[in-house]
Structures are given as structure tokens and as C-alpha cells.
């Protein structure tokens, strides 16, 4: 086997995450799917790093992790705020954009 197989896993995980964002309604689950997509991207970076023989990919994955952590903090705070005012964690309930 060769390292490229990791890339296929990464692609699959990313696709699953993308589908989850579209089909799930619970905001927290949607958010977890976003995290899954980020993780899949990270796996791809680490694999690229190995394939190219430099550590740049790993540094990028490191930055991605930091940004993802920030995103989680703010995103969850938003979910809590919405939940507090609407008593619901469903993304469909926050559909005031159309009006």
C-alpha cells in the first residue's frame, strides 16, 4: 500500500461531513459535521506533507486546528445564544432570512 490511500479516506470523510451539514437539522450535529470536514482536510495536509517530504503541510494542519478551535468557541456561543432566545437548536427554526 502507499500513502495515497489516506487521501481517499480524507475525501470520503469530507464528503460525509458535507452531506451531514446539508441533511441534519440539529445545529450541534451540523457543527460536528463541519468539524469532520476540517479534520478530513487536516488528514490530507498531513499526508501531503509525507508525500512531499517537507513539514509545511503539518504546519498548515496545525494552523487549521487553531482556527477550528476558535471557530468552535464562537460557533457554540452563537448556538447557545440562539437557543436562549428561541428555545430551539434547529437550524430550520432560524429561517428569518426569507422575510
Amino acid at each position: 500500500m502507499n500513502p495515497y490511500n489516506y487521501l481517499y479516506v480524507s475525501g470520503l470523510l469530507f464528503t460525509i461531513g458535507a452531506v451531514g451539514v446539508v441533511v441534519r437539522r440539529n445545529a450541534i450535529v451540523v457543527f460536528m459535521c463541519v468539524e469532520l470536514m476540517l479534520n478530513a482536510a487536516n488528514l490530507a495536509f498531513v499526508t501531503f506533507s509525507r508525500i512531499n517530504g517537507t513539514l509545511d503541510g503539518q504546519v498548515t494542519a496545525f494552523f487549521t486546528m487553531v482556527v477550528a478551535a476558535c471557530e468552535v468557541v464562537v460557533g457554540l456561543a452563537i448556538i447557545v445564544t440562539i437557543y436562549r432566545s428561541r428555545r430551539s437548536a434547529s437550524v430550520d427554526d432560524a429561517s428569518l432570512l426569507k422575510r
Partner: protein, 630 residues
């Protein structure tokens, strides 16, 4: 030309008074009128000082200037805000500040019971400042600022009692008709700048002889329009009668003595243009001749004492305009009549105010009569003004009006006969209607209501009238003694040299004029003194009387020719605006909303459907990459 640093005080003092009174608010209620009067009087003082300085200098160095600041400096277009005081301006400065101060004093008493007296005095001071700027400006642009300023002050003062809708309408009418004239002045300035490249009086006088006659004629005719608007001359005369809605001191100061004569000043000041544009000059005399007859005719039918005096003002300014249109020989006489008229008409207006003061603000002369017993001082002073205006020697009007009639006859040929005849006819009608005013008010049988208690006015009111009526006795004699005024103005407006042969001898003209006056007075005596006068105007009168009572149809004419077509045009424009312009605008809006409501269907508001769109976009993107990397 020498300079003087004190010219600015002439304008700054009354302007300061106006600003202090308007900004000071009710705090200045108690002493504001004294401040305003003091400011006007000190401006008069500055004027006297300037006169003494001017007399001390030789003739050719009498004019002084003062540059205030550089107003507009764009490339080679430089306008300074600068003042010019010469032999012509000083006459006006003294008339404005002198008569103005007397009227301020008169108003202290006349307006004593008005709760807005402070505002009234602020406007009066504003008017004095604007009028002084008008006569002191050294260029047409500076003059224009003052010209608009007096228009504003006139508007504010006519509508001073604007709680009455009719008065507010009168002020609006005056403002709108003045605006027509102001357009003329601004066009004149524009043409002058475009063709002559300058707007200062000195500059234009310098280059005018080299300019084309067409341009000068255009400027001249525009100046006539301006003068007609400001001086209530035909065909812009209709506002003056309604302007009597303002308080009587205003009528005396603005609508008799000073502002309405600004047109005469403008024409005399622009002599260097009119001397070179005979067509424009012809227009001037025609306007003057028509107005002097027109105003006199209107005066015969007015029962309102102030409106009768307003009609006579219109007619007298017609004389001045006529004289100013007769060229160098007439300018000095125009100014002379202007000054004497300033005295006697102001004194008569103030006298009329005094009568109203004693008669519960009644203005209908048919409700007066026999007031000479109750108001002896007013009667005597009004009588002096009366004798002056109909031209009885040795009162002031005789000298000035006689000179104009004589000059008109001397214009030569058919023109001279026509103009002289018109002036003579005007004199006769003037004698008739002024006698009518005099008889109806003072000498005929008493016709007032029971509740009227006529009484003489307080000293604060009759003393200014007395001073003014002294002017109406003596000024004509003083001005003509040894051709004093003519010689005084000669460096400015040109002399009498080249005087052509006389059409009629001066004595003959005087005799004719006096005969005309006698006829007029005699008719008036027969109709009003020796016959009973109805307290209510008779209704079954001839068509001519009805026409004259309707101001010779001036309002009907304006409404039919300008107002209704104007309204129709406005309505048409509004419809076009609604259907075409608004239609296009709304069409764009409808297009946007229509396409928006179609596109809106794709916007469900669900975040997940947007995510699906992103996913589809990503698929398309990656498919693109797939295709291009193949």
C-alpha cells in the same frame, strides 16, 4: 481717486442694529427701538461728515472709495466688495439716513402698542443697511446685493402683520413681481460681464464707448426691466398698491421715499449705457410716460388714502423715469424730483399715518372729512406736501416737476410734444386726485362714524412730519438756486452742453403747467368740496370709473396673461412628470421588484438549502477542475 475708511460705517451701523435686535430677542424689547433709531441717526451723522469732507475737496476729487475685501477672485475674474461715494451717492445717503431717521423717530410712537415693535425696528435697520449698500456699491454686483437686501426688507415689512392672510399675500405679490425685475438686473449684469468683461461702474463707463450698440441696448433694456420691478413702473407696477398692507412708516420710507426710487438711481447710475443706447433710452421714456398717466388715473378712483398716495408715488416715479430717459439734460432733474418727492411724499404718508392714528386705523377717505379742525398740525403739514406735489410755486414740487415737463417738451419733434403733453396731462390729473384726497380728508363735511374720536397725534409723531414738510417747502428752491444740484451732479452724469433750441419758453411751460393744475383743482373742488360725498362709494358709475377702480385691469391682465397660463403650464409639467419621469422611475422599480419576487423563490431562508447550494457549487467547481486537468 481718494479712499475713505469710514464709508463702511454707513452700512455697518444699521446692520449692527438689525443684528443686535434680531439676535438679542426679547431682551432688547425695552430699548431696541432706541438702539435702532440711534444707529440710523449715527449713519446720518457719518453721511453729514462725508458730505463736509466732500465739500472740502475740489470738484474732480470728490468721489471716494473703500475696498472692504476681495469678494470673488477666480482667475482674471476679480470682484472686490468695494464702496463708492460720489456726488450722486451722497444725495441718496443723506435722503435715506435723514428721512429714515425721522421715520424711525415717528415709528417709536406709531408702533408703541405693537408687541413686535422690536422686530419692526430690526427690519427697518436692515432696510437702511441694504439700501445704503445699494447706493454705495461700486459695481453692479455690489449693487445687486443691496438690491436683493431691500427686496427682502420690503417683503418682511409689507408682511409685517402677516397674521392677516391678505397682508401676507400682498407681501408675496410684491416679492414675486420684484423677482421679475431682479431677473432683469441679473441678466443685465451677465450680459455686461460677457460683453464688456467687467461689472464696476467705472470699468463699464470706460469700455462702453467701444462696445457694440446691440450689447448696450440689451443691457439697457434689462436694466429698465429691473428698474420697472423695483420702482413699480409699467408693466410691473401692480404690487405697489398692495404693498400698502405694511405699517404706514414703511409705506413712507420704503414705498414712497427710498426703495421704489432705486430704479431711478439705477438708470441715472447707468447713464454711460443709456447715453450710448438710444433704443433703450426710448424704452425708458415710454415706460415713464405710460406709468405717470397710469398711476395718476388709478389715483383718481382710490378711496383708501394710502392706496391713493401709492398710486401717486407710482405716477411721480413715472416722472422721474421719464426725466432719466431724456438723457444728460434730464438726469439731474430726475434726481431732483426724486429728492423733493422723498420729502413731500414721506411727509404726506406720515400725515396719512397720523390721520389713521387718530381715526382708529380707518383708511377709507369717505369716512373722513373736516379733520382740519381736529388735527391742525397734520392738516398744515399734509397741506404743504399737497401743494408741493401738485406743483404750486414756491413749493418743492413746482421746481422739480416743472423742470421735467420743460425738458420733455424740449426733447424735440413729435416725441417732445407727446411726452410733454403726457407730463402736462399727468400734472392735471395729479392736481385733481391730490385735491380729492385733501378735500375728502380735511376740508369737506365730516362723515365719520360716531365711535371715531379724531385727535392730534403726539409730538413724537408730528415733529418728524413737520421737519419733512419743511423739506417739501424749501428743498426745490434750494436745489434750483443757481442750478445747485445740476452743477453738483454734473461730474457724474454729464452736463447740459449741446442743449438744443427750446421748443417752448420756460415761462410758457410754467404757465401751461399751472393752468393744468388749476383745472384739476377746480374739478376736484366742484365734485367734492361743493357737493355732498356719499360715505359709501356709489355703485352705479360709468364703465371707465369701474375700470379705473379695478386698477385699469392690471391684476386681471397679469392673471390672464401670466398666472393662468403659468398654472396650466405647471399642471402640464406636473402631468408629464408623473407619467413620463415618474413612470420611468417606477417602471425601473417595478422591474426590480418583479424580478426580485421571481428570484426570491430560490431564497427559502433555510441555512441548509444554502449549504446545499454551496455543495452544488463545489461539485461544479471540482468538475471544472476535473475537465481542465484531463
Amino acid at each position: 481717486m481718494s479712499t475713505s475708511s469710514s464709508l463702511v460705517y454707513l452700512i455697518a451701523l444699521p446692520l449692527f442694529g438689525a443684528a443686535a435686535l434680531l439676535l438679542g430677542g426679547r431682551r432688547t424689547d425695552k430699548w431696541g427701538h432706541f438702539l435702532a433709531t440711534a444707529m440710523s441717526a449715527s449713519a446720518f451723522g457719518v453721511g453729514l461728515y462725508q458730505l463736509s469732507q466732500m465739500l472740502a475737496r475740489p470738484t474732480e476729487e470728490r468721489a471716494v472709495t473703500q475696498k472692504l475685501f476681495s469678494w470673488i477672485a477666480v482667475g482674471n475674474f476679480n470682484i472686490d466688495a468695494a464702496l463708492l461715494l460720489d456726488q450722486l451717492s451722497i444725495c441718496f445717503v443723506l435722503l435715506i439716513t435723514g428721512v429714515g431717521t425721522l421715520i424711525h423717530i415717528y415709528s417709536i410712537s406709531y408702533m408703541a402698542h405693537d408687541e413686535n415693535r422690536r422686530r419692526f425696528f430690526a427690519y427697518l435697520n436692515l432696510f437702511i443697511a441694504a439700501m445704503l449698500l445699494l447706493v454705495l456699491g461700486n459695481s453692479y454686483l455690489n449693487l445687486y446685493v443691496g438690491w436683493e437686501g431691500v427686496g427682502l426688507a420690503s417683503y418682511l415689512l409689507i408682511g409685517f402683520w402677516n397674521q392677516k392672510p391678505a397682508y401676507a399675500t400682498a407681501s408675496k405679490k410684491a416679492f414675486v413681481m420684484n423677482r421679475v425685475g431682479d431677473m432683469g438686473l441679473s441678466f443685465a449684469i451677465m450680459i455686461a460681464f460677457a460683453t464688456l468683461g467687467t461689472t464696476t461702474f467705472a470699468g463699464i463707463a470706460d469700455v462702453a464707448p467701444r462696445a457694440s450698440e446691440g450689447a448696450l441696448t440689451a443691457i439697457g433694456i434689462m436694466l429698465v426691466v429691473a428698474a420697472a420691478g423695483k420702482s413699480a413702473q409699467f408693466p410691473l407696477q401692480a404690487w405697489l398698491g398692495d404693498a400698502m398692507a405694511g405699517p404706514t412708516p414703511v409705506s413712507a420710507l420704503i414705498h414712497a421715499a427710498t426703495m421704489v426710487t432705486a430704479g431711478v438711481y439705477l438708470i441715472v447710475r447707468s447713464h454711460f449705457i443709456f447715453d450710448l443706447a438710444p433704443t433703450a433710452q426710448l424704452v425708458v421714456v415710454i415706460v415713464g410716460a405710460i406709468t405717470l398717466i397710469f398711476g395718476a388715473l388709478i389715483g383718481t378712483a382710490k378711496d383708501d388714502i394710502k392706496k391713493a398716495l401709492a398710486a401717486s408715488t407710482m405716477s411721480q416715479i413715472g416722472y422721474m423715469i421719464l426725466a432719466a430717459g431724456l438723457g444728460p439734460v434730464g438726469y439731474a432733474f430726475a434726481i431732483m424730483h426724486l429728492l423733493t418727492h422723498g420729502f413731500f411724499k414721506a411727509s404726506m404718508f406720515l400725515g396719512a399715518g397720523s390721520v389713521m392714528h387718530g381715526m382708529n386705523d380707518e383708511v377709507n377717505m369717505r369716512k373722513f372729512g373736516n379733520l382740519r379742525k381736529f388735527m391742525p398740525i397734520t392738516f398744515v403739514t399734509f397741506g404743504f406736501g399737497y401743494l408741493a406735489i401738485i406743483g404750486v410755486p414756491p413749493f418743492a414740487g413746482f421746481y422739480s416737476k416743472d423742470a421735467i415737463i420743460e425738458t420733455a417738451f424740449n426733447a424735440g419733434g413729435l416725441k417732445g410734444i407727446l411726452l410733454g403733453g403726457a407730463a402736462l396731462l399727468g400734472a392735471a390729473i395729479t392736481a385733481f386726485y391730490m385735491s380729492r384726497v385733501m378735500i375728502l380728508t380735511f376740508t369737506s363735511k365730516a362723515r365719520w362714524d360716531d365711535e371715531a374720536h379724531p385727535h392730534e397725534s403726539p409730538a413724537l409723531m408730528w415733529v418728524p412730519i413737520a421737519i419733512l414738510s419743511f423739506g417739501s417747502i424749501a428743498s426745490g428752491f434750494l436745489f434750483t438756486r443757481g442750478h445747485a444740484l445740476v452743477n453738483w451732479l454734473e461730474p457724474i452724469v454729464g452736463g447740459h452742453e449741446g442743449n438744443h433750441e427750446e421748443f417752448l419758453a420756460p415761462m410758457v411751460v410754467s404757465a401751461l403747467a399751472l393752468t393744468a393744475v388749476a383745472i384739476g383743482v377746480a374739478i376736484a373742488l366742484m365734485k367734492y368740496q361743493f357737493a355732498d360725498v356719499a360715505p359709501v362709494a356709489p355703485v352705479d358709475v360709468s364703465a371707465l370709473t369701474r375700470l379705473v377702480r379695478n386698477d385699469l385691469g392690471q391684476d386681471a391682465f397679469n392673471e390672464a396673461v401670466f398666472m393662468r397660463p403659468g398654472i396650466a403650464l405647471t399642471e402640464l409639467a406636473q402631468k408629464a412628470d408623473e407619467s413620463v419621469v415618474d413612470g420611468a422611475v417606477r417602471g425601473v422599480g417595478r422591474l426590480a421588484t418583479g424580478s426580485g419576487s421571481v428570484l426570491r423563490r430560490s431564497q427559502t431562508g433555510f441555512a441548509r438549502s444554502y449549504a446545499a447550494f454551496i455543495l452544488i457549487g463545489a461539485v461544479i467547481l471540482i468538475a471544472g477542475i476535473w475537465v481542465v486537468t484531463q
